[in-house]
């Protein structure tokens, strides 16, 4: 088959799959989480390990997905995960199926509008339609599969392919209980239109039975006795069971009307229908299939249902667009009749295409200029930092991929998609009170949960660096001399079980000026910053400062690649009592704009050769290194952070100590010191020798994190016996089973 013979739509769907997969991969590797994916991944991992559809999310007990949603479809695609057991498998299957949505839409448009250009415009506009992008780009949910399935079901109904229609209706039913509504109504449509009538009656009956079966067999079986069904929680304000909910909704029509016409709900309607010029309303005979779900979403107590920044409208989109196509066809026919009486002779396809171009441009403008377009790389609101990866992501991965899957973990939402393949995982936002084996905190997690490191004696800090903090529960943790472990104590551990081991360089320690970054401040050609460094001991080994590069043209720097700009970040260490007059430059480093990311980077300054002494005064200055070539160039800007001083460090009470953050608004000519009282520039100072030679070091500060059976650990740690001056103890995490 020649490539030129392949229809446009198959190539388009294929490219959409590649586009989706690329963006999803970039987001995943940058530790930018999406909604709920980690929960589904954990469920798949549990299923592969014998606990079918079990997960715990933030709960401290495991429960079955069927207690929330009867979604047998997830078991139908599960073999893909069994074959390719990778955290991204489910995403790729999802992307593949979603990409198929364009195919039935294209062929239906081609059938109805009889123009390839019109069908192409429909497909391109649907791609730009932001409610569609949010159904699958914001996160993962089985309900989002309803868009392609219902499009296929309707298309096959239209083409008189009754069994394929029935198959896709069945697949839609197997997503979630609310899918009973569009599937039932499509059955009614088939009966009224006399298309595949037998199958239509069958599908209507099956939908009704599905509802009965889910409410009377599945939910009672998987719900704790006397608890209300999970799905009723979406309508919790109306009642605790189906009867109460329906009665209360119907008994107060004025309240319902008020809710449906509230500002947020009208915005919801405008987002769905405004983008297609409300033309879908002119084909109510098709639109009626998709509307009830929208009404339910708008009435729900759980307000996320009534937001377009999720997937709950996924089953309505097919009917909005199918109705649009039918409306265009009808308008074309009307135009044809009218034009016979008019002197204007315009081809009906031309008129339809004019309308479609308007729809295309409208959708393009929405995503180009508003937050609704955040998922499109050519939108001004596309957020670069969500897709960028830097050195800290490497550090996070080195830790997360090493922790054995038998260990339970609590970590920030950013990392849950990377820790989900295990029985227990928890978000740190709900961490209080749980006792997972290992806790990882990151002060700069992209999920923006700046956390205070817990002062909890139940856990011990086993490693820290680059503002990452790794804790282990005390009952699982034992510290050994490396020699003792390698020669004897490794035998105390179960030879078939995997353990985590951490080796830190001798006498290493870190001082943080602040662990609670609160305000970001600019560093550019006008704004410069200075703060006195707090030196705890002589000869610190490194200094780390968090910085981000700023977008000069809005959120999406991608649109402005190649534009002329200049200015790199300059970090200096000054020695002297007065940074304005009496100082010498001890260190000066330039950090190039293109080497930094929009998310937090840590610039690391090696202090080993600077002979820094506790008794002397040192200043950290951040400014811009600029060599402007022409006046049109834009000047780069950077951000750093200030926060409240670290509470865990006892400050040395010295009334004369200078703790000001000095800030200059005019390139360092004048300095202000009162802009941020009681705050500190965020930085970390490391003490102890930085181990740089190759000794199996895989973490930034010379630490080594490994996992394996006791025998594996013994062999790996045995190599370190040659470096006793650098390493002498190892932390092993995992219970020792005492044989009585």
């Amino acid at each position: 088959m020649k490539i030129t013979n392949v229809r446009f739509i198959y190539i388009f769907a294929f490219f959409y799959f590649i586009y989706f997969s690329t963006l999803t991969y970039l987001k995943w590797q940058a530790h930018s989480p999406s909604l709920d994916y980690h929960a589904y991944l954990q469920m798949y991992w549990n299923t592969a390990n014998g606990d079918i559809l079990m997960y715990n999310r933030a709960s401290e007990t495991q429960y079955s997905l069927f207690s929330a949603h009867f979604s047998p479809f997830l078991l139908m695609i599960f073999p893909a995960y069994l074959i390719f057991s990778h955290p991204l498998t489910l995403y790729f299957v999802f992307g593949f199926v979603i990409s198929l949505s364009f195919i039935p839409l294209y062929f239906f448009a081609l059938d109805k509008l009889k123009s390839r250009l019109s069908a192409v415009l429909i497909v391109l506009s649907f791609y730009l339609y932001f409610p569609f992008s949010w159904t699958h780009r914001h996160g993962f949910a089985e309900e989002a599969f309803a868009t392609p399935f219902l499009l296929f079901a309707f298309y096959f109904l239209h083409k008189n392919r009754p069994w394929l229609y029935a198959l896709f209706s069945f697949l839609t039913l197997s997503l979630r209980i609310n899918m009973v509504i569009p599937v039932f109504l499509m059955g009614i449509y088939s009966i009224i239109k006399n298309k595949s009538r037998k199958q239509g009656i069958f599908i209507c009956s099956l939908s009704m039975f599905w509802l009965f079966y889910t409410l009377n067999v599945i939910y009672p079986k998987h719900t704790v006795e006397n608890n209300s069904f999970y799905v009723y929680g979406f309508f919790g304000d109306y009642g605790k069971n189906l009867r109460e909910i329906i009665t209360n909704i119907l008994s107060d029509p004025s309240k319902i009307l008020q809710t449906l016409t509230s500002e947020s709900r009208l915005k919801y309607v405008n987002g769905l229908f405004g983008s297609v010029l409300f033309l879908s309303f002119l084909s109510p005979d098709i639109l009626f299939i998709g509307v009830p779900i929208l009404l339910l979403n708008m009435l729900a107590s759980y307000t996320r249902l009534g937001s377009l920044w999720t997937y709950y409208h996924a089953s309505s989109l097919p009917f909005i667009w199918l109705a649009l196509i039918v409306t265009l066809q009808r308008l074309g026919t009307l135009w044809e009749r009218l034009s016979q009486k008019l002197t204007i002779k315009l081809n009906k396809t031309f008129v339809i295409n004019i309308l479609l171009v308007v729809i295309f441009v409208k959708n393009y403008n929405i995503i180009k200029h508003s937050d609704n377009g955040i998922h499109y790389p050519f939108s001004e609101t596309f957020n670069m930092r969500t897709y960028e990866r830097n050195k800290r992501d490497d550090t996070a991965d080195a830790i997360l991929t090493t922790i054995p899957k038998t260990n339970s973990i609590a970590t920030q939402h950013s990392y849950l998609e990377h820790t989900a393949e295990r029985k227990w995982q928890f978000p740190t936002s709900n961490f209080s009170g749980y006792y997972p084996d290992i806790v990882l905190f990151d002060s700069w997690a992209s999920s923006a949960e700046f956390k205070i490191v817990p002062d909890n004696k139940l856990y011990s800090k086993i490693w820290e660096d680059s503002f990452f903090f790794l804790y282990s529960r005390n009952d699982l943790l034992k510290i050994y001399n490396i020699k003792d472990f390698v020669y004897s104590t490794y035998k105390n551990y179960n030879e078939r079980f995997e353990y985590l081991a951490l080796v830190n360089p001798k006498e290493s320690s870190v001082f943080y000026s602040s662990l609670e970054p609160q305000i970001s401040i600019d560093v550019n050609d006008r704004y410069h910053l200075v703060q006195k460094l707090e030196i705890q001991k002589d000869n610190p080994s490194a200094l780390e400062i968090p910085v981000e590069k700023e977008n000069l043209y809005g959120a999406n720097d991608l649109l402005h690649i190649g534009k002329e700009r200049s200015g790199n970040l300059k970090a200096e260490i000054l020695e002297g009592t007065d940074f304005k007059a009496n100082y010498r430059v001890l260190f000066s480093g330039i950090y190039k704009f293109e080497d930094l990311t929009h998310k937090t980077n840590l610039i690391r300054i090696n202090l080993n050769d600077l002979n820094i002494e506790k008794s002397k005064t040192y200043w950290l200055m951040l400014s811009l290194d600029i060599n402007r070539k022409n006046a049109r160039e834009l000047i780069n800007s950077y951000k750093t952070f200030i926060g409240i001083p670290d509470r865990t460090v006892k400050s040395i009470k010295d009334e004369t100590a200078d703790t000001n953050v000095y800030y200059s608004f005019d390139s360092g000519k004048k300095w202000s010191s009162d802009a941020y009282p009681d705050k500190k520039l965020v930085y970390a100072i490391y003490y102890g020798n930085l181990v740089t030679e190759e000794k199996g070091v895989n973490l930034e500060n010379g630490s080594i994190i490994i996992s394996g059976t006791p025998w594996n650990l013994k062999n790996q740690l045995g190599n370190l016996l040659n470096y006793e001056s650098d390493y002498n103890s190892v932390v092993i995490i995992g219970p020792v089973t005492e044989i009585l």
Partner: protein, 156 residues
């Protein structure tokens, strides 16, 4: 393969019948898979929290009854005593883990534990002590064979 039209409907109904029966019978994995009975005695049953004391001593009397007469060897099976916050199968704080052969009809183990105050404080949830028996499962999470639970009552 083309299915003869006259079989289409019966096959569809058969498929759906099996589908619905399968999910009606489908049970999620029960955490406990064996009938070994474990007994747990707490002594004292009520822990009085003395805020001046850092540690509290609690004696636990454990008894495992083996009605099956199977020999549970220490290489394959082990016992764990753990403290959980609320639910029986949430990740717990391991107080003690040990292996022993359970071959006779019953075995008893008596242990005294020192619990640090910080484990018990600042929590308003129920604490449960579990005496669990596990089977090792290669390098996967051990499988829970039997469990006994008591609620630990705390008084200030």
């Amino acid at each position: 393969m083309k299915i003869n039209k006259q079989y289409q409907w019966p096959l569809i109904f058969l498929f759906l019948l099996l589908f619905f029966i399968f999910f009606a019978l489908f049970e999620e994995n029960k955490p406990i898979e064996n009938k070994v009975r474990l007994d747990l005695e707490l002594n004292p049953g009520i822990i009085k929290i003395d805020e001046k004391k850092k540690e509290h001593e609690i004696a636990i009397k454990l008894k495992a009854v083996n009605p099956t007469q199977s020999v549970f060897t220490p290489d394959v099976y082990f016992f764990r005593v753990e403290l959980n916050r609320s639910y029986p199968d949430s990740p717990g704080y391991i107080i003690k883990e040990f292996s022993t052969k359970l071959g006779a009809a019953s075995d008893e183990f008596e242990e005294n534990f020192l619990w640090e105050e910080n484990i018990l404080n600042n929590e308003e949830f129920k604490f449960r002590i579990h005496f669990n028996m596990y089977r090792r499962n290669g390098n996967k999470e051990p499988t829970l064979i039997a469990s006994s639970t008591k609620i630990l009552r705390l008084e200030k």
